[in-house]
């Protein structure tokens, strides 16, 4: 009798907690839907095929960065160098095509990813070696990578004419670009869910000391997370080059904060341990949509920025409210 009661109580508990998690992701989807519907009513030109295409192309790059950032944030770290790595990789891709015009596109993609992974390895290596918080280390490498970019470019600009047509058309073909994002998203999401090392990333962010005592190789896992984040920033750099065609040393400047915003809005806990890449990707889509919906609504640029800020605060407020509610539910039963 008592066990039956306990069983049904625990089932209720499980339903309640999973419902709260669903609410979190549904919340962003609802906000996104509302935004699109309202904007379309006010300005019917918003959802033209060109509009949708711009939206998806724009979100692709941010979403890929957000996936990489999520992998790092889950471990209670942050990668502020993502924008600089993207810039470096984009310029490297352009330079590669200038130096070897007939280069096959996949080779360029692999080169960008490897360059980004190398940058990520530098980040992760420094964090492990110097034992300094990743916030400080990646703030440093944000400037270092950008500096390398500047020195390399030395004021030069690479134009669309320097790159193969097939490469540029790939960057403006919505299905291809979206496919990149979806493959990255699903692969990362599945890895984090279904593999031991993926779960260990959550464990590290949830309680680093306990992770060490559990025998998890914390240093190695965090290093790997930064390599993944760097590699995805590298990939995003290649896609950036393909999409925009015109490259100088400023590509992707300031993008890291958009990425962190997307991750936070997407429900990834900034202190690690919880959140999903799917949420982060929807967060990226929402931020991109705001970026194009507000001008379409005729909102002034000042309010556009302020509204992104308000969204972040609202997301954090929602997280807090849900956490309090969940805590209350969890305390009440086993």
């Amino acid at each position: 009798m008592t066990t039956t009661l306990a069983r049904s109580a625990s089932r209720r508990l499980r339903q309640e907690s999973s419902r709260l998690f669903v609410i979190r992701e549904l919340g962003i989807v609802a906000a996104l839907t509302l935004l699109v519907v309202v904007t379309t009513i006010v300005n019917p030109r918003f959802l033209t095929s060109q509009g949708i295409k711009d939206l998806l192309l724009g979100s692709t790059i941010l979403a890929i960065l957000a996936v990489g950032q999520t992998v790092v944030v889950i471990t209670r770290n942050v990668d502020l160098s993502a924008g600089s790595v993207l810039g470096l990789s984009a310029f490297a891709t352009g330079s590669l095509f200038v130096a070897a015009p007939g280069l096959p596109i996949p080779v360029a993609v692999v080169a960008g990813v490897l360059l980004g992974a190398a940058c990520g390895a530098v980040n992760g290596g420094l964090i492990a070696a110097v034992q300094v918080p990743s916030l400080v280390v990646t703030l440093g490498t944000l400037y270092v990578f950008r500096g390398i970019d500047y020195t390399w470019a030395s004021g030069r600009q690479i134009n669309a004419a320097d790159m193969p047509g097939a490469f540029l058309s790939m960057g403006n073909t919505t299905p291809v670009m979206t496919m990149f994002a979806i493959v990255v998203l699903v692969a990362a999401g599945y890895y984090l869910r279904a593999f031991r090392s993926g779960r260990e990333l959550y464990a590290i962010g949830s309680h680093p000391d306990a992770a060490r005592l559990a025998g998890i190789p914390v240093g190695r896992r965090v290093l790997a997370a930064f390599v993944v984040s760097g590699a995805l920033a590298g990939l995003a750099g290649v896609l950036y080059a393909a999409r925009f065609g015109t490259l100088d040393a400023n590509a992707g400047t300031g993008l890291e904060l958009n990425v962190v915003a997307a991750v936070v809005v997407g429900g990834v806990a900034i202190f690690g341990g919880s959140g999903s890449v799917y949420g982060a990707a929807i967060g990226a889509l929402l931020l991109t949509t705001i970026g194009s919906a507000l001008p379409a609504l005729g909102v002034s640029p000042f309010w556009q920025r302020a509204s992104v800020g308000a969204l972040i605060l609202a997301a954090i407020g929602l997280d807090r409210a849900l956490a309090v509610r969940l805590a209350r539910t969890l305390r009440s039963g086993r």
Binding site: T3, A6, R7, S10, R11, L13, R14, S17, R193, A194, F195, R196, R199, E200, Y202, A203, G205, S206, H207, D209, A210, A211, R212, L213, A214, G215, I216, P217, A269, G273, S274, L326, A327, T329, L330, R331, S332, G333, R334
Partner: protein
Amino acid sequence: MVVLELRDVSKAFDAVQALRAVRLGLRAGEAHGLVGENGAGKSTLVKILAGAHPADEGALLMDGRALRLAGPADARAAGIAVIYQEPTLFPDLSVAENIFMSRQPLRGLRRIDARAMRARTTELFDRLGVPMDPDRPARGLSIADQQLVEIAKALAFDARVLVMDEPTAALSGPEVERLFAVVRALCEAGSAVLFVSHRFEEIFALCERVSVMRDGRLVSTDPAAEVTVAELVRRMVGREVAEMYPKAEASKGPPLLQVRGLSRRGAFTGVSLTVHAGEIVALAGLVGAGRSEVARAVFGVDRHDEGEVLVDGRRLRNGDTAAAIAAGLALVPEDRRQQGLVMELSVARNATLARRWSLARLGLLTGGAERRAARTWGERLRVRSAGPDEAVSALSGGNQQKVVLAKWLSTEPRVLIVDEPTRGIDVGTKAEVHRLLSELAGRGVAVLMISSELPEVLGMADRVLVMHEGRLVADIPRALAGEETVMLAATGHGGAG
């Protein structure tokens, strides 16, 4: 047959020699007790077996072969499971994942088999006899439940050697019994168990042999049947502890603390109690009966929904700790790390935190007054620290507890509420805390003591109140209080006590 052997293991942290040439052999199928005062080196020994610290000198042997532990992963691989004093769970992950982290059952392509993991978790909990949902996150579990998850974790990989560092500190009687049944089953299956505890009854109930540590040395190992508690205590402290529970008779004064019909939804209902000046009243009950919650509500940390609290006949405002302190109430909380101390601050700062206003001149704290006040109380309580400027985090558990006591005693309280005042404290310090509580009662302070240790409750209290599932179910005077009456009431079989 000796499974795991330590040969002359030594370990130093900076200038402090934590272990000196320790020799210990753990036999298959046997539970081995380890006792010693706080700071004697028990936890260091546990950490070395866990692979969390490397030994400076000496060797570990498993089945007679040298065992090198470069990290916790090596210890696990060798079949050594460790349950720490403080649970080490991942709050965001599910209970099942906590149990199987890094060892999750796999299916094709090395993917985690979530269904098998859940099934095995349920199986483990059935074995432990607790209904816990494998899918719920570890966040929000009570300390006792967290400890049960730790135990399930150790069970999950059929440890050859199970090391437990005070696993019962937060468990209630039936939970301890269940744990012991599981440990005995493990022993029968051939595992070796090292059981570190401050509770002698448990050591004698579970262990075949018992070792004593003092100042980093292993001073003795005997069959449990051949030693007495008094003998063990003398070896631990190196001196005779005169009297464990020295409650002196004190004349009962007027009622100082009166609680009438206090209720807080979901925690406790209709609690009424009175504590007179010079009286020590114990609040007994199982973990989770709502004792700490009552204490928090009386002190105003939590708001209550119904009822009232009176100190010396004057009603306290609901949920106002400042008013409670002003009225002469003091609360020494259960979890000193989280609720009683600011770990990074110095001993002096912590000890004077509760009365910083009376020490301040023109609203500014001068270090001198703080240090003087801290020294006075430090001496009275015999706190062992390098000095008033040492950070509290550097002190041992027993000495931390003394600082918490100093903090509240320095406010000269008229009503003192102590929640588990001697949990995780060595015997010597325990006796000092008991002496102090008795002395305070003698000076006319009303003491309400929450304790899960029956000998302490029976030895110290003038009256024993028992709580069961949020209600006060018994009020037993000292003369009638015995282990049986209190336990029956606490488990809800007390009748009209």
